[in-house]
Symmetry: D2
């Protein structure tokens, strides 16, 4: 699993790409090239999300499901379904 | 949670809608209307998947994570990540 | 571009796969395998949609945009944006 | 249609949200909250893309399709299909 610093580096890189798209807009670059860059940023965010979800599954979800608190188990499962449904709508 | 029969009814309905799209193609209906029908079928499949995932989380995932088999825990978590990554690519 | 018959064959195949998923539910097959089959059907629908969109772009969109009717041009562009926004939400 | 400045403001806001997610990671905030913020940024990028696509359809696509250059018409249609296929995979 990635470290916190590796996750932050991913976000720094994404931030830089967003600034790059700003320059493309400023310099009236070809629309399709701008769209393609934006889609690349979205893929990078998707990858970031997948790594965070892995940390969550290994951490909080495992702890909650192994606990004797049925309410906690239900909560983390409901949350996972929300994340699944929202992310498949992006 | 939905019963097996309710899940099967959802699939029967989806099957019917796919046949409906076939008729639209056969009768040269407007392309955008065909595309919109297809997107509706995809949403229905997404909803079906979400219900199946809920059953999976409540069943196999909970059983595996509460077990003493670290390998099983790792397996179901890896599977969940694959489902998450594939579904966000549709 | 694909013929009408080729498009219909794609839909027939999709229909068959949906029935296959029904059998998997009936026979209590592993949830993740059911989800993976459903995601494959969604990808097939996506491919079908892309072919229909190509026909639309080559046909109605080109005819409308090359016409002298500004209203028609606006209509097909608005429709394309709706298709783009809806499909990126699936 | 939005002005260039409005598009740039959208990107500035997205950039700010990405920095916000960095802080959440730094402060070990709850994983699901981080994921939800990232999904919100993806939706904002999707909206940005839709506006850029509208500009493209109104501009370059209309100019190319109304031209007598069949090759240009084919090129912009192929590009639109690529954008459609890539964005539905995000």
């Amino acid at each position: 699993m990635e470290t916190k610093q590796q996750l932050r580096n991913r976000l720094k890189s994404i931030e830089g790409h967003v600034r790059g798209i700003e320059r493309m807009v400023e310099e009236d670059e070809y629309c399709v090239d701008i769209i393609k860059q934006t889609l690349a940023v979205q893929r990078a965010l998707e990858k970031f999300n997948s790594i965070v979800l892995e940390r969550h599954l290994q951490g909080c979800v495992t702890t909650a499901i192994r606990s004797e608190d049925a309410g906690e188990r239900e909560r983390v499962i409901t949350e996972l379904l929300q994340v699944f449904e929202t992310s498949s709508k992006i």
